[in-house]
């Protein structure tokens, strides 16, 4: 008997089931189709302005820095300001996201490059698919628009958050994903990111910049 058959057999013996009971199958199919939401904390809920305020406060608690600009055209100047003030290299890499490509970068004098990271990039920018007020968490999805490696290899990661994409909770991100990709389908990777990379493995001392970015700078666009 194959390992698979034997494991399924052992599980069913332990549960005292045959595996073909219609009510059990119906229960499982219903749960997978409807994905009940459970307990959703009040913290992230509220009007859009309240959600954005909660998101910013929670992201800051998680050691991210947060700035706010009025419109997308203001993002390059904010990123250039952050790099300058922190004495970081005047370079930036990002993917094929049309919203980033459309921004006015010329005036900043930043040296731009495009595509995934091979580990040699000091700074990168991504656009969040959604952001979660409840815990100041960013949700990024893989693909050519915002390659996953940009979230992990560079020392400094900028994430552009359009205020309309700030939701209250993780469940709302999943609802948005199901709407974009279909129920039960999913992008290859969804990265929930809450603050910069950290480790406390040495004597429980909190250190930022373990393997991922040392700095996470969030730029919120068009807050209500």
């Amino acid at each position: 008997m194959s390992a698979r058959d034997e494991i399924f057999g052992a599980i069913r013996r332990s549960l005292g089931v045959a595996g073909d009971e219609a009510p059990r199958r119906a229960t499982v199919e219903a749960r997978l189709a409807h994905a009940p939401a459970g307990i959703v904390p009040r913290r992230g809920q509220g009007e859009p302005a309240e959600r954005v305020a909660t998101f910013k406060a929670e992201a800051a608690l998680a050691q991210a820095s947060v700035a706010e600009v009025a419109e997308a055209a203001d993002v390059p100047a904010e990123i250039a300001r952050f790099l300058g003030e922190n004495h970081l290299p005047a370079t930036l890499r990002f993917g094929e996201d049309a919203r980033l490509a459309a921004m006015p970068w010329e005036a900043t004098g930043l040296e731009l490059s495009r595509g995934p990271s091979d580990g040699d990039d000091a700074n990168a920018a991504s656009v969040a698919f959604a952001s979660v007020a409840e815990s100041g968490t960013l949700a990024l999805v893989s693909g050519a628009d915002n390659p996953t490696t940009l979230s992990f290899l560079p020392n400094t990661h900028f994430v552009v958050v359009f205020a309309v994409d700030v939701v209250g909770d993780y469940e709302s991100v999943f609802t948005k994903l199901r709407a974009a990709h279909g129920v039960g389908a999913a992008p290859r990777t969804v990265n929930f990111i809450t603050g910069p990379s950290r480790s406390a493995d040495i004597e429980e001392t909190l250190l930022l910049g373990a393997h991922g970015p040392r700095r996470l700078h969030i730029v919120v666009v068009g807050a209500p």
Binding site: I11, R12, L32, I193, S199
Partner: protein, 475 residues
Amino acid sequence: MTVPSTSSRFKANVSQALADERLQGALPHARNFAGARAAAVARLPEFEALRDSARAIKDHTLAHLDLYLEAFERKATEAGGQVHYARDAAEATATIVDLCKARGARTVVKGKSMISEEIGLNAALERAGIAAVETDLGEYAIQLRDERPSHIIAPAIHLTRKDFEAEFRRAHRDLPADRDLSRPEQLLGEARAVLRDKFLSAEVGVTGANFLVAETGASIIVTNEGNGDLAQVLPKVHVVVASIEKLVPTLNDAAQILRVLARSATGQDMAVYTTIAVGPRRPGDPDGPEEWHVVLVDNGRSAMLGSPFKDMLRCIRCGACMNHCPVYLAVGGHAYGWIYPGPMGAVLTPALLGVAEGGQLPNASTLCGRCEAVCPTRIPLPRMMRQWREREFARRLTPAPARFALGLWAFFAKRPALYRLSSDLATRLLHLVGRARGRFSWLPFARGWTRSRDLAAPQGATFQSRWRAKSGRVK
């Protein structure tokens, strides 16, 4: 095969741990977790309701585990992944070693994974001539020391900064000998640079999974460092190794448990990186693995599902039980002798290795109940430790002195009048003698007990006599 254990030598391990000054100097750091958890819990009014929700989700999933596994397998396969099944540790390591060999892999980078420790994956890879590199900072340090994790989320909690420095100086010989490593930041920076090269050159990345999601076929890993993400996005092949109880039905179910996981573990609302991944890179994807495998490991879980210890399968490996355990905090994790320490280890080890090997661990508890009080899925750990003790006793595995003491206690317990009289006398005597200091640091016949802790002096009469005096009224 499942890695060997020294759990049956638990008493000797404990004596060694209590006498180890270096360990006793490092262990106090583990006490930070409890306060961090309490602060995170106080900030979330829905926390207790979320614990109930997490427990219900795990119970529901376990009761339908065969069907959720089928659904997971279907979705993971549809996304281009390959699902493998392993009955035991040998089958699991053979599957992964074969995958690596077939692709000519020389280096495997690893995210932190307790199941990979349980099945002895690193040793199996080394035997096949493949270098396995742990990339979590703590795991990396203990791999250099050829040790096992002493905590399930803080694997190097038994080490001090100086230990890290000594290991790094020994291992990184190509770096200048006079470099400054006196600050933790410098140690982290050095590990980051050394491991970055490994990430970029490894052919295979192996991670565990905090959850497997039946709805989409995805694995979810939760980390703070980002090492698990580099291990799964950079190499050409990503292998997820997970035990079968990691299943949850939907992403929403995972979200419920995520809300209690990091809070219970480190006191964070969310860990830095929660990564939901399914399948290899898709057409147009500029990065990500070209192959994605999931190795589902049983290694004793399907049998536990039909046993009185099935509640243990709700465990989400947060470490809260050990962070709040007076025994764990006194002896550390290595004394438990196998992979899983603390209260969850005391229940899981005899379930997976048998009562003859792991049966002593459930005795390492005062049954104070803090573990159950903080467990995010409300696992009745003290009850299960009592059940293991009964089994150990019934199988006559309990050592003779302990059986003698229990027999003596039973003699008095079966004679209530004699019990009351003798416990009354003993309590009064201890109260009189210990009144001044309030505790005993030495007692006749109990030096083994008092050597590493004090016994509190009784505050007066016994509970029974006070209960009688109040005629059974609470106030």
